[in-house]
Amino acid sequence: MAKLNHPANLKYSKTDEWVRVDGDEATVGITDYAQDQLGDIVYIELPWNASQSVSAEEKFGDIESVKATSELVSPVSGSITKVNENLKDTPELINDSPYEQGWMFVVKLSDPAELDHLMNATDYLAYLEGR
């Protein structure tokens, strides 16, 4: 796990998504740990039509690696303002750059208090160690 990167300025969920907060908006993706566990990502299904909403701890999409299918679970609630269309054809960006080019969507937070339920990088790392 030493070579995996979990930036200190992000918040983390138990289902391995990260959240970058910017005012009343947040960007969501999956963590370096998650992409590493999945291996080569070949396909992703996101709520492509912006204006859809997501709910904390509920599924927002599916991700496929060569080996397996997994569900994506939203760490926060709100309405989506932007989706990363690049992932449709180049989902491997999630492997290569999970926090930058591999972002999944931007959401306008409907309940910012939900952020308090998420972990900081130190707690997330401890959570991973205990798995």
């Binding site: 291996g39 080569d40 396909y43 599916d62 496929e64 690696s65 060569v66 080996k67 205990g130």
Partner: protein, 372 residues
Amino acid sequence: MTEEDRAAASLKRTPLYHEHRALDARLVEFSGWEMPVQYSSILEEHRAVRARAGLFDVSHMGEFRVEGQDALAYLQYLVPNDVSKLAIHQALYTQLCLPDAGAIDDLLIYRVGEDQYMMVVNAGNIDKDFAWAKQQSRNFDVQLSNQSDETGLLALQGPEAQHILQPLTAADLSSIRYYHFEPGQVNGIECIISRTGYTGEDGFELYCPSSRVVELWRDVLAAGKERGLLPAGLGARDTLRLEAGYCLYGHELDEATNPLEAGLGWTIKLNKGDFIGHDALAKIKEHGLTRKLVGIEMTGRGVCRSGYAIYAGDQQIGALTSGAPAPTLNKNIGMGYVSAAHAVPGKTVHIDIRGKHTAAQITALPFYKRQK
């Protein structure tokens, strides 16, 4: 101890376990064994095997020795393929069938000597197969021994395999034809050098004493480094065999599936005399198949996986037994059983991917055949 550690504690490991750890492999449970699913990336390992070479630890496979004056008669009774056709140092692919033709396992049989054979079976079926083989041997003068623990097995697969292996052995590899083998030393280690594999590429499988398989692994990896050889895990093994259209026991084959519907009719020799499952197979052949194994190629967006339902219109006509992205073909493919009337290459079907019916096409197998 985490839950994962506890689960791992009951899993079997090959002698190469510490090599895999040292190479930073991701280890997973595979039919009771803790095995490497990937070292770097499944895609990278898959492509290495197609373009250059990959080295697989398949020491978890089972090996049974069959010896005695009735060895041939016994094997002829035990399996549907014609073992009498084997020359010494030749191998064949066959199955163990129940009397109702259901497949207990699929396996290779090697003719090692005049009355000496080796059966190579799937790791998850070793105990079941050995008990069955033993039980069926009662009326024959044969000795059976399970040598799985004493036998290591590496698969060196890919177009560069012969170039990599030749400097390590005095055996003339170019003279070993497909499904033939030679006993010989590889860097001083006594091996059976077999031109077989499960990837759709040229290559060799090397059987050796398990006490020396670590040495053999290191020697072959070092010898292949310059030619781009990579250690390859079960993940790549699975995508490679899927592209090549090979059955995987537990997916395309099981006790509720007969070899004829699995497309293995070429291995069923009804005219060779009696064998277990003969009458059931003859009857199935006479009445025709109710379902058939087919290839599935996604035309719509999505990856098909084992267990997904296959539809023609509103009607479910079958289900997938395997499915994955095919790295060589850049498509999403699978194999599955559909009712015989629908088993027509080119036919449009739909796959239920998490409730969404996604377009696909039935295709002939295999998906991939190497250029010779």
